[in-house]
Symmetry: C2
Subunit: 287 residues, 2 copies
């Protein structure tokens, strides 16, 4: 497909970000909180029509949870090793001028994993030369993705519930009442990263309460320490002691950078929006 451009939409569970792309350039963007969760059953065609009407009726490429069983339709999955061409071959077309990208699933050694939306960023980064063709990429968040690229293809990936675990502990665990203070890449955070070397998360987390009880650590340091512990464990388990290409907002980016550098790794920051746009443009060319 080509013509007078298209809309690329990164449509997640809680947010939606649209890019109007003409001749390979982003000429307009919009972002709102109309994530998949806030669209009622059967509401997607009307939402997409409204979006297109704001942008000259251009055709759309949708990626992310909009392609799940909670979205417009379940578009299924491709499997590693996966390329943008594989994704293009497997797109769903629920209506005229509407294309939805499939997710990626992986089942190996008794473990299953899935992604939806991240694959466009990951493969877009490689396609645009923002990463080398062989690279380890990390997308921190509620569910942090680690992805291994091989010759520019998505060879393997794993998801860790790092951000969700922090929120769970803070809001519902006995140690939650101790997890106060600002989280930043400070000395307490680095102490948490160091503690994660024990590979003993269940005990290290309990130690937060004991440390508070015995006055071993300032209570206002505890949230940062807990974050360092979890992010440290995440990075150690997934190659964070090596070269990591990080697709993250500034907040999580600084925390993951700190942890990776503490582990002796090195970080290169990648603009995740630019990576998504690059992936969407290449996908559109392949349709």
């Amino acid at each position: 497909m080509s013509g007078n451009g298209f809309l690329a939409v990164d449509w997640g569970t809680t947010n939606r970000r649209a890019y109007r792309i003409v001749d390979g350039e982003v000429v307009a963007t919009e972002q709102d909180g109309l994530g998949v969760r806030s669209i009622g059953v059967g509401g997607f065609p009307a939402e997409v029509d409204a979006l297109r009407q704001r942008h000259a009726g251009l055709p759309v490429l949708l990626a992310g949870m909009v392609g799940s069983n909670r979205g417009w339709m379940d578009t299924g999955y491709v499997e590693p090793s996966a390329t943008l061409a594989d994704l293009a071959t497997a797109v769903a077309r629920p209506a005229d001028d509407v294309v939805i990208v499939p997710g990626v699933k992986r089942i190996a050694n008794g473990r299953a994993d899935v992604m939806r939306g991240e694959e466009v960023q990951l493969l877009g980064a490689a396609a645009a030369g923002m990463t080398p063709p062989n690279a380890l990429l990390c997308q921190p968040g509620t569910h942090c993705k680690w992805a291994w690229l091989n010759n520019g293809a998505l060879a393997d990936f794993v998801t860790a519930m790092t951000g969700e675990m922090f929120d769970l502990l803070k809001n519902h665990a006995l140690i939650g009442q101790e997890m106060i203070g600002r989280v930043s890449a400070d000395a307490a955070f680095r102490a948490g990263v160091a503690e994660s070397a024990r590979a003993d998360l269940l005990a290290s987390l309990f130690g937060i309460r004991s440390a508070s009880l015995l006055g071993l650590r300032d209570r206002t340091d505890m949230a940062s320490y807990a974050s360092g512990l979890l992010i440290g464990a995440d990075c150690r388990a997934h190659g964070g002691a090596g070269d990591v290409h990080l697709l993250a907002d500034p907040g999580l980016g600084s925390l993951y950078s700190c942890a990776i550098e503490e582990l002796g790794g090195s970080v290169r920051m990648i603009d995740s929006q630019a990576a998504f746009v690059a992936g969407a443009i290449r996908l559109w060319e392949l349709l």
Copy 2:
């Protein structure tokens, strides 16, 4: 102290268990839900008086959270290496004929840990010959204690939030809705124990949702799998591949036994109530 016996009370956060001991034998017991949490501020003297009146006014030895800042009074801590004699020397005496056992704290390599009540069981088991003088003991629960005895003294210990983590995940995590079915020492539990070998808890837990989504594992197996994953991680981190003396109720006992045996370790079950009574009797003799 000696005379016509005494009452030994294991007084935890949610439960209270009292043993009337005469001439080294338990002649009566009572158990109720009057844990420390359910006693109002200043309410302990009256509660203890009422208990003693039901038992001929015998003097009492109190152990557990009753000696914390949420209990009758904070009795402080002894430190490893700790013996029953060390505990006896450090008891508090908040009233006539009332003795409260201190807790044990440990601070080493930037990690803090505490116990209250478990120490009487652990040292009692060794004093009564229920364990060898050099042994690894495990007390599963919301907060699982692992303790290393050396020459009959408590040399080291660590606490893991294993049971609390299971409850947190089941009740509040995204994977909680998948954690259904009965938890038992079955094939799914053993698969969880095997998965814990990756030392990658944050990703293995996320995998529960992916496995459900992709139909890799029966949904009714997920709670058991999650339990195996957590208990497997707990055992691996704390010597569970060796000889373990387990002080547990039958339910948790069978799960920890299964995990330890899967790891190549061996289990000997210890009666935790008998161990507490043995520790209390020896402590009473030392006062």
